[in-house]
C-alpha cells in the first residue's frame, strides 16, 4: 500500500453536508399530509388516573384524533426489555418496563398519558389544555435511601416493595483478607449525574404506505436495527415491512439508544392507525422529563490497605436509582461494579447493590454509564488513604497499578456483556508518568503551589486514573461494494451521532482497497440497506463495526485481485491496488480501474463459472470474544475563588490509551467533548426535584450546560497498547473523557481548600455547595 490512512488526522467526509445545512436530521423530514403529535404528560410524580375526557379537545379545529391507553387494545403492553438481567447467582431482578401510555396510574412527571394528533404542532399543544384528566394523588417515592422502607408507597403494586434488583458479586474473600490490614477506611459517597441534553431533542416521523404495506420510521435512535425488530414484532409485521432510518443525529450520548421509549412505540402505531404520516419532535421541556437520565447512587465503601499503601481489598455497597421503570436492565450498576477497581491490582472485592424504583424519569446509560460512580469511589478512597498513610497521591496509585505482565487480567465478577470481567491488555504506568510530566506534578507540589498559597491563592492539583470497558459484542456487520463509478459504498447497521464514522470507517476501507478516503461513502442507520446489527453504544462503534468493515473490505480486496488476475493474465501477487486502480506491481501502466472491474464483474451476457458472485462486493461480520479495556489518567490544576467559591480550571491534562488510533483528530474531539461533559457533571449540572417529584431544573436556564468560557483548553497525551481481541488492535474511546473528571475535580478542589479541612465525598459540586462544605468543616453549621 502506497499510503496508509489508518492513524492519520484526516478531515471528515460528513462535514460539508453538515456545514452547509444540508444534512438530514429527523425534524427535517417533511412529507405530504404530515400530521403532528403532542403528548399529554403526567404533571404528577405518582397518581392514579381515574378519568380521561377528550371530548372538548376533540372539538378543537384542526385536531385529528386523540388516543389514550384504552384505545390501544392489544397493542397496549409494557415495552420489551432491552437488556435482560445477567446470569449472576442469587440475584433478584424485577422486570418492569414502561407501557406506551400510562393506564390507571402515572409513575413519574412527564409520563405520556395521551397522544394528540393535529394538523400542526401548535394546534396539538393547544389541545393539551382542553384535556380533562382526573387524578388521585399518591405520595411519591423520591429518596433512594428510603425507597425500600416499609411505609413507602408501592410504585408497582404487584411487587412487595420498590426493589428493582439486588446483586452481590465477589472476587476473593474481602472479610478474611481485611483482617490483616494496617488501615481500613470507611466512607459514604454520593455521586449524582444529570441528563445528556443532546442539543437535538428526540424525534420520530412515521409513514405507513397502505398500498405497499410498509412502514417507514425516521427515529433519533443510536440503534435502528433493534428498534426495527422490536416494532415489527409489536405491530404484527415482518421485519421486511418496517424500515427504520436513523439519519444524521444531533448527539446521542446514550439516551438515544434502543430504549423503546413510549413515543417510539406510539408514533408508528398512530401512523398505521390513521393511514397518515405523523411527526413528533420532542421539545426541551419534554426532553428533561421524557428522555432517560442517569442520576445518583449512594455508596457505603471500605478499603483495606497495608502500611505501605498496597490495597488488600475493597468492599462497596450501594443503592442505585432506577427511576419508575427498568428497561435497560442492570447495565449501569454492573458498570459501576466492574469499573470501580480501575487500573489497580485488587485481589479481594465484595460489591453489592440494591437498585430501587422511584417516581422519577427512567434511568439508563449516559456517556460513562455508571462507570463514573465507581471511579469516584475508588479514587477518593485512595486519596483519603494517601493522606492517612502520608503517601503522595500519585505514588499510592503507582504502587497499586496492575503490572504490564499481568494481562489478560481477571477481575472475575460479571460485566455488562454477561461474561466474567477480563482486561485484555494494558500498560498503565507510562500513562501515569506522562500525565505527571505533562502537568509538572512535582514542580507544582514542591514549588508553584506553596508560592501561590503564600500569595493567598487557593490552588490545588488532582490526578485520577480509570479504565473503560469498551467494544463489547455481540457483533456488527458491513457490506462493502465497489461501484461502477469507482467509488466504494459501505453500509453498516449501527447509527451515527457525530463520531465521525463516515471518515474513520472510510480510512479503514481506503487502506484495504487503495482508494482515496473521500471516495468511500459510508451509510449508517438504514435498516433497508443493512439488515443486521446491535447499535452504537458502550464505545463499540469503531471496535466492532470498524473491524467488521475491515473484514468485508479484505474480502472485496481478494475479489478484486482474483478477477484482475484473470483479466490481466497474471497471478494475484503480481498486482497492487493504489489510487483507485489495480495494476501490475512492476508496470503501473498496465491497470484496470476499480469501477471498470466492478462493471466487468457483473456481466450481462455469456456464462459464468459455477459459484461466481456478481460484483465486487462482500458482507462480513465481526464479534469480539469480549470487550477491549482502554485506560487513561486525567490531571487538573484548579483555583478556587475564596469569596465566590467559583472554581477556575487552570490546566487540564488527559493521557489516554485506546490502542491503535484510526484518526487522532477525531479521537481528540471525543476526548474534549467527554471531558467537557465530565466538567458539566462535576460542577454545573444538577437535576433538582421538589418534595413532590417535580423536576425544577427543566430549562437550559436552570440546568447549566457548560459554555465556551467554562471549559478549559485540554492538553492530550497518548499511549498505545493495542487490543489483542481484534485485528485492528483498537479499543473504544467514546466515553473515556467523561469518566474520571469527578474525582479529579473533587481532589483538586479539596487540595486547594486544604486549610479548611474539607473532605469532598460528593458530585456534583457548585459554588454554593462548596461554601456549605467549608462552613460544615469549620463547624459553623
Amino acid at each position: 500500500m502506497a499510503t496508509r490512512y489508518f492513524g492519520q488526522r484526516i478531515q471528515r467526509n460528513e462535514d460539508p453536508r453538515l456545514l452547509t445545512g444540508q444534512a438530514l436530521f429527523v425534524d427535517d423530514v417533511m412529507l405530504p399530509r404530515l400530521a403532528h403529535i403532542a403528548f399529554v404528560r403526567s404533571p404528577h410524580a405518582h397518581a392514579l388516573i381515574h378519568r380521561i375526557d377528550t371530548k372538548s379537545a376533540l372539538k378543537r379545529e384542526g385536531v385529528i384524533a386523540i388516543f389514550t391507553a384504552e384505545d390501544l387494545g392489544d397493542y397496549w403492553q409494557p415495552a420489551p426489555i432491552v437488556v435482560p438481567p445477567p446470569p449472576i447467582q442469587d440475584m433478584t431482578f424485577n422486570k418492569r418496563t414502561q407501557p406506551p401510555l400510562a393506564k390507571g396510574k402515572a409513575r413519574f412527571v412527564g409520563e405520556p398519558i395521551a397522544v394528540i394528533v393535529a394538523e400542526s404542532r401548535y394546534i396539538a399543544e393547544d389541545a393539551i389544555r382542553d384535556m380533562q384528566i382526573e387524578y388521585e394523588l399518591l405520595s411519591p417515592v423520591l429518596d433512594i435511601e428510603h425507597a425500600l422502607d416499609a411505609n413507602q408507597p408501592l410504585i408497582h403494586d404487584d411487587l412487595p416493595d420498590n426493589l428493582g434488583a439486588h446483586v452481590v458479586q465477589r472476587k476473593g474473600d474481602y472479610d478474611r483478607a481485611a483482617q490483616s490490614a494496617d488501615l481500613i477506611i470507611k466512607r459514604r459517597f454520593d455521586y449524582d449525574r444529570g441528563t445528556a441534553a443532546a442539543i437535538e431533542n428526540r424525534g420520530i416521523v412515521a409513514s405507513w404506505d397502505t398500498r405497499d404495506q410498509r412502514l417507514t420510521i425516521w427515529d433519533t435512535t443510536q440503534a435502528p436495527v433493534p428498534i426495527r425488530n422490536g416494532l415489527a414484532k409489536l405491530l404484527g409485521l415482518g421485519e421486511n415491512q418496517v424500515r427504520v432510518i436513523a439519519p444524521f443525529i444531533g448527539g446521542g450520548f446514550g439516551p438515544k439508544v434502543m430504549m423503546f421509549y413510549q413515543e417510539e412505540l406510539i408514533v408508528p402505531w398512530v401512523a398505521m392507525h390513521l393511514g397518515r404520516p405523523v411527526k413528533w419532535i420532542e421539545d426541551r421541556a419534554e426532553n428533561f422529563v421524557g428522555t432517560s437520565h442517569e442520576r445518583g447512587q449512594v455508596h457505603e465503601s471500605e478499603i483495606a490497605l497495608t502500611a505501605d499503601g498496597k490495597i488488600i481489598g475493597v468492599k462497596d455497597t450501594f443503592i442505585h436509582d432506577c427511576g419508575a421503570y427498568i428497561p435497560y436492565g442492570l447495565t449501569l450498576p454492573l458498570n459501576t461494579q466492574c469499573t470501580l477497581l480501575g487500573c489497580y491490582d485488587v485481589q479481594h472485592y465484595t460489591t453489592e447493590f440494591e437498585a430501587v424504583f422511584t417516581n422519577k424519569t427512567l434511568v439508563a446509560p449516559y456517556r460513562g454509564a455508571g462507570r463514573q460512580h465507581g471511579v469516584f469511589v475508588m479514587e477518593r478512597l485512595l486519596d483519603i488513604a494517601a493522606k492517612e498513610l502520608g503517601i503522595d497521591r500519585a505514588e499510592i496509585r503507582r504502587r497499586n497499578l496492575i503490572p504490564p505482565d499481568a494481562f489478560p487480567y481477571h477481575n472475575e465478577i460479571i460485566y455488562q456483556d454477561f461474561a466474567p470481567l477480563v482486561y485484555d491488555s494494558g500498560n498503565y504506568e507510562p500513562s501515569l508518568d506522562k500525565a505527571l510530566e505533562m502537568i509538572d506534578y512535582q514542580d507544582f507540589i514542591e514549588n508553584i503551589q506553596p508560592q501561590l498559597k503564600a500569595e493567598g491563592r487557593y490552588v490545588g492539583i488532582g490526578i485520577a486514573t480509570y479504565v473503560e470497558g469498551t467494544g463489547i459484542g455481540p457483533y456488527e456487520g458491513a457490506r462493502v461494494q465497489v461501484m461502477g463509478n469507482g467509488k466504494v459504498s459501505v453500509v453498516t447497521g449501527i447509527g451515527t451521532q457525530g463520531q465521525g464514522h463516515f471518515t474513520s470507517f472510510a480510512q479503514i476501507v481506503a487502506d484495504q482497497l487503495g482508494v482515496e478516503v473521500c471516495d468511500v461513502s459510508i451509510t449508517t442507520g438504514d435498516t433497508n440497506l443493512f439488515y443486521w446489527g446491535a447499535g452504537t453504544f458502550a464505545s463499540r462503534g469503531a471496535v466492532v463495526a470498524g473491524n467488521a468493515i475491515n473484514e468485508a473490505a479484505k474480502d472485496v480486496r481478494q475479489k478484486i485481485l482474483k478477477l484482475a488476475a484473470e483479466k490481466l493474465h497474471v497471478t494475484e501477487d503480481e498486482l497492487e491496488l493504489t489510487q483507485g486502480v489495480v495494476h501490475l506491481k512492476h508496470n503501473p501502466n498496465i491497470f484496470i480501474a476499480l469501477g471498470d472491474l466492478a462493471t466487468q464483474a457483473n456481466p450481462l451476457r455469456g456464462a459464468v463459472k459455477p459459484g461466481t458472485e456478481p460484483g465486487l462486493e462482500a458482507t462480513n461480520y465481526f464479534g469480539p470474544e469480549r470487550g477491549a479495556t482502554a485506560n487513561g489518567v486525567h490531571a487538573a490544576i484548579v483555583e478556587v475563588d475564596p469569596d465566590t467559591f467559583d472554581v477556575h480550571i487552570l490546566r487540564y491534562v488527559v493521557v489516554h490509551d485506546c490502542g491503535n488510533v484510526i484518526n487522532p483528530l477525531i479521537l481528540d474531539g471525543q476526548i474534549h467533548g467527554g471531558t467537557a461533559q465530565g466538567i458539566g457533571n462535576a460542577f454545573y449540572e444538577k437535576l433538582v426535584y421538589d418534595d413532590q417529584g417535580h423536576l425544577l431544573s427543566i430549562s437550559l436556564l436552570d440546568y447549566l450546560l457548560p459554555n465556551a468560557m467554562n471549559i478549559p483548553h485540554i492538553e492530550i497525551g497518548h499511549e498505545v497498547t493495542p487490543s489483542p481481541l481484534n485485528p485492528l488492535g483498537i479499543k473504544g474511546a467514546g466515553e473515556a473523557g467523561a469518566i474520571p473528571v469527578g474525582p479529579v475535580f473533587a481532589q483538586a478542589v479539596e487540595d486547594a481548600l486544604s486549610e479548611f479541612g474539607v473532605e469532598i465525598r460528593e458530585i456534583p459540586l457548585s459554588p454554593s455547595r462548596l461554601w456549605e462544605l467549608v462552613q460544615q468543616a469549620q463547624g459553623k453549621v
Binding site: 462535514d15 442539543i199 437535538e200 431533542n201 444531533g250 426541551r284 465521525g500 474531539g669 467533548g673 468560557m709
Partner: protein
Amino acid sequence: MIQITVIVNGITHTLQVEPRLLLSDFLRQDLGLTGTHVGCEHGVCGSCTILFDGDAVRACLMFAVQANGHEITTVESLTTDMERLHPIQRAFRETHALQCGFCTSGILMTLIPFLEKNPDPTEADIRQALTGNLCRCTGYQHIVAAVQRAAQLQQKP
C-alpha cells in the same frame, strides 16, 4: 393570518402566516430552510441563530410577523456548494470543530458578524463570543481553533 414580506438570503417572500408562528418554524417549515436548527425554543442553546438585518439573533425568540420588512440570512446563504465552502466552513472542517453538527449552523451565523467586527480576535474574545451557543459534543476547543483559523483565512483570501 397576516401577510408578511421578508427577504431571506436575498430572495423576497410574501406569505400569509399566523401571528404566533415562530420565526424559526417559518424558516424551516414555510420556506424549507432546514439548515436552521431548533434545540431549546427558549433562547439558550443558540442553534437557531440567524442574521436579522445583519445581527445575530435567535430565530426561536421572534415571531415571523416581526420579520416583516426585514432582511434575514441563514446558514444556507454561506454556500450550498459543498466543493466551495465559505472560509469559516472550511476552517471548521480543517480543525474538526463539529461532531454531530446540530449546533453548527447557529455557531457559524454567530461568527459571521463577530469576525467582521473582530478580524483578529484573541482566544478570550472567541470564547466570550461563543457563550451564546451551546455545543454538547466538542468541548469548544476545536471551535476556538476554527475561529482562529477562519480569521487567518479571511485575512488572506
